[in-house]
Subunit: 382 residues, 2 copies
Amino acid sequence: MSDPRSVGAVRPQTMHFDTPLAFRSGAVLGAYDLMYETYGTLNAARSNAVLVCHALNASHHVAGYYADEPDKVGWWDNMIGPGKPLDTDKFFVIGVNNLGGCFGSTGPASIDPGTGKPYGSRFPVITVEDWVDTQARLADRLGIECFAAVMGGSLGAMQALQWAIAYPARIANAIAVAAAPKLSAQNIAFNDVARQAITTDPDFHGGDFYARNVAPRRGLRLARMIGHITYLSDDAMMVKFGRSLRSGEIHFHFGVDFEVESYLHHQGDKFSEYFDANTYLLITRALDYFDPAAGCGGDLTRALAPVRARFLVASFTSDWRFAPARSREIVKALLDNRADVCYAEIDAPHGHDAFLLDDARYHALVRAYFENVARDVGAAAP
Amino acid sequence: MSDPRSVGAVRPQTMHFDTPLAFRSGAVLGAYDLMYETYGTLNAARSNAVLVCHALNASHHVAGYYADEPDKVGWWDNMIGPGKPLDTDKFFVIGVNNLGGCFGSTGPASIDPGTGKPYGSRFPVITVEDWVDTQARLADRLGIECFAAVMGGSLGAMQALQWAIAYPARIANAIAVAAAPKLSAQNIAFNDVARQAITTDPDFHGGDFYARNVAPRRGLRLARMIGHITYLSDDAMMVKFGRSLRSGEIHFHFGVDFEVESYLHHQGDKFSEYFDANTYLLITRALDYFDPAAGCGGDLTRALAPVRARFLVASFTSDWRFAPARSREIVKALLDNRADVCYAEIDAPHGHDAFLLDDARYHALVRAYFENVARDVGAAAP
């Protein structure tokens, strides 16, 4: 807390929207709230705003901590703060809980004013495109015409990419870390198993479990365990856990023998206590569906033709979920469009999760990129 | 069925054992049956026998078909038959359903004569070492002092390796395909999720579900889906399924949209109908526990010191479950011991499952190896 490079104690805010939102699915939501946080100060020219988009299980709480929960540090706090790679002395940073989430923005667990009951299974299936539209509306309300940058890792990177496609005049820079232009069949398959774990849990009740005071925790726990394996590299798991035994010996049973089992159970248990199962379904489906090239006959180059933003694309050598080759597809399509793109393939051992970790080369790269952005948008510290 | 290179209609046989078997866990089974099949003819010198060990979900039915079920072709029929790489005109081939299995050998669903009820949760946790001991007893009963070869892929390869360690005088050649000397943390993690899916299924009842006329099919289905993903390479899934949609469009729901989802559900559904959940737990645990180097301070070279067999080790470039590097660990430790080892890394796109597929280079290699074995053991066709 005494970290001079922390943004310090922060407070989430809620923005209410009552202009109906039409989803790509055809569904319409009459009104909704978005929960967000901001760090730093919007300059007079309103040119130094950076939107940080979250991935599967994160939220609007990107940096700093809560006064009454000092241990609840933002999920990208190592990246964002005074003097950090995304420097809040220079930039006005916004984190937002995506619509459909379970951390304060309207989602499946929220009360549907039409019925007085939680939306549950009736919450619209949402897409990355829909999210970006809601973020643009939030920007309107905050008086931000053009973002200095939109930044994200993994699913967050997909949102940055979609921003550059859908709102080319409103984003000067896109920072896409550990990205892919679409899921592979294997990616979809893992998401499918996770969803099946949830929807076949007898406590799921077709998504309308809230009124029954149960939740498909068994399924959500399995979903999280599967996800977790895909976020880590085989090597990183071997270094972290190896074949270490919890009690030094095997017990010839199906309970916990190996440290890696204990770790996964703990992660799964924790997650299933606080995360909403319907949100998990929504977010994994948004991942599956994202494929900007699909509307252009599979041609990513054509899909990225509207892009005007400069790009920083960064991948990690040990990421097998979204391997570097997937980032290079984006880079190639950007170059085809003569876009200004900087690409770095970072030699990091941690797998997909590397985008969240404090890797010196990675952070130095983002820092250098944002120093240029700061100069371009006149966001240098006073 | 009219395939001249099929071993033709085959019949499984049962061998009863009533000498108590002591497991590595300390448990003892008073009596048990093993289900097995044989193809070809044992020569007068009894020198041409080849034991084929199965992996996770296979059985004693390795080649040929059943007269009353002509579509039920053995799981390695492309490898084994007259004129095939493992030529039944030259070799006497034995397939055995491992103890604890669910295809005829005594397993958790079998009746415990002590209680008159299925063993269920009381079936001993079994190890690769235990399996090899039961296979050696079967060999005794069949009058086979020394196998010309013991062969297997994946978990089957672990059994071949264990044969070479535990019974060096009884195995002339070991053929280990898609092998690993032990599971990695990631391998264990996937097994753990699969087991958790089964054991947290409300229909599991601690493993004693038989009397209740239910089975943890939801969990077993998820386990199979997870397993299936790890058997295929990302590339192979992309070629086979890509992002193809079942009905040409997305439906904004959590049901089946993508072909890969439909495929996985089908595989999981089928598997959960015929496979025993307790057997799945036992077999994945045997995989986890196998680590011959553990008793030698982690030194695989020391663990393989007893080996006298010649080895053929074959791996597949796209296998990310047991990557080629894992096979090379075995090769290195064999070479340290001045063992006679032939290693081939086969450029195949299919992932771990490649060991079951009819790849020309792979089959040519196994064929050539067995031709030498045939000469060595005097098993040339008459």
